[in-house]
Amino acid sequence: MLPGWNASRLTASLAIVCLTLLSFACGGDGGTGSGNETTVIKVDGSSTVFPITEAVAEEFQRSGKVKVTVGISGTGGGFKKFVRGEIDVADASRPILAEEMSQAKANGIEFIELPVAFDALTVVVNNQNDWLMSITVADLKKIWEPGAQGKITHWNHVRPEWPNEKIALFGAGADSGTFDYFTEAIVGKAKSSRGDYTASEDDNVLVQGVEGNKYALGYVPYAYYAPHSKRMKALAIEWEKAKVPGAVLPSPENVLAGTYNPLSRPLFIYVSRKSMDKPAVKEFVEFYLKNVKTLAAEVKYVPLSETAYQMATQRLASMQTGSGFGGVPEVGLPVEEILKRTPKT
């Protein structure tokens, strides 16, 4: 038989557990009541923008008592939360779409669109690929457009001089801004892509895929290519609509010079106008624009030009709401050009 103390100890611990359970309700109420004292700034969205915002949030929290949380829900997922008013700032690797803008309007959410850095979508192939140094946008379109599904399965289907081997395709998952931007820039219509490729939200999966297959082709954000530049080969991109003809390699210099088109893209943060009334959020966003130049470079992104940052700061100061794209995605636009436009709400 068990000694009695064990049973009574069990009852005691059960009682404590039940008490804790009972106090949940009070705990919840007390939390929301006193929750206003310490502001938590909520940021969510693109995984591509995440490293930059994370760096800013890390530095910002070092200096003050304000708390910042940064989530990764993808650009689309971030906007879904943003237009419902659940978060203060949305990270985005593509401009806000018309549909998302109308949802925001319906919920009374106004926003300020601020470009923060560049990314260069990098088309990568295996190191042993000896038939490609550059590729034209037209050929990329041939490979990636929806009609290619089941038809363009071998390299020589694109161009007869390329090998008669199966292409292994690696690309971004459908909820990412990377996918939206790539399809917009290459196929000409956002989200329009063939479906029979290896899709992953985790770019390291794509990197490994391209590294392991001689006949692979994929696209990843430049920040994922840069640390692996020895493990795979980036292709120079030849765009028929470019002002200066010729193939351009992805590099910080070419991106900043505006020649790596149409695959260099600005990354944005969207700030809720209502949240800007909170001093902590205002301080955070101002801190963001002031320090993003150094911090973006630290995490291997290409910072914008000084003029662009100045224009963004001005836009923030004057609280200009709306998107410079008006819900219609465009590719290959200089950031200064986007900021010069009067944003449409």
């Binding site: 009852t11 705990g27 915002t53 708390k67």
Partner: protein, 302 residues
Amino acid sequence: MSDFKHIIAKRKRQDFLFNIVGILCTLVGILTLGALLADLLIDGLVRINWTFLTSFPSRFAERAGILSSWVGTLLIMIVTAATAVPLGVAAGIYLEEYARRNWVTNLIEINIANLAGVPSIIYGLMALSLLVYQFRLGQSVLTGGLTLAFLILPIVIVATREALRTIPQGIREAAYALGSTKWQVVRHHLLPYSLGGTMTGIIIALSRAIGETAPLITIGALTFIAFLPPPPIKGQAPFVSFEWLTSPFSVLPIQMFNWVSRPDQDFVVNAAGAGLVLIFVTLLLNAIAIAIRYRVRKRIKW
């Protein structure tokens, strides 16, 4: 006669063969776990130190730590245990000792068995629409803990019932014969005797919950969080605060997931380090379960 010997030899050969197959099957599991552990140890051991445990995540791999995620894991586990254990044990006792055998009970039992097999992501979706949006609990420690509590509730119920079933019917009858009420039987005999089995079940369930990532990602557990929830004990009255329940959180598996998917490969080492901590905690929990079972079994004699 030689025919007979021949048949025996054949049977023995079959026996031996099955023995070998059995050993191989066992080894597959053990070797995989061993290889995984060795791999994690080689990668992650260099990162395990005091600073790693007491630092917040950072953009620099060598500066990044798991403070906010292990505290998050701990708090989530407290909420999960505090909810799932009383509910699960009480439900188990009711179903095993009190409930009449009728179609309602049967329906409940079938449903509990089914719930135990529901994929964890479904619990996440349920929690997202019910807890986060309907009850407006937000992406808080409370939501996370309750989600995992739902997830392990069926396991706790089943474990409690199994433990109660191992108690001989004679014990109950003897207690009734002495004039005990049903509650007295449960409280003085059944609960203490089933403690070993119940606790083992609870701890196994908790060690499953501790590694869950999918339902917490669904409810929106955050990945970068460089602060701790407010402390539960305060300097002034009423001394106890439950504000931490409403705090946003991150947990170890989500922190690992985040580190593995980063461009900078140095973070993989951090992920391995966090994995080691997670495996260590899980093994510790399992060891506690075994110890409790051993102690309780040793003391029970009937």
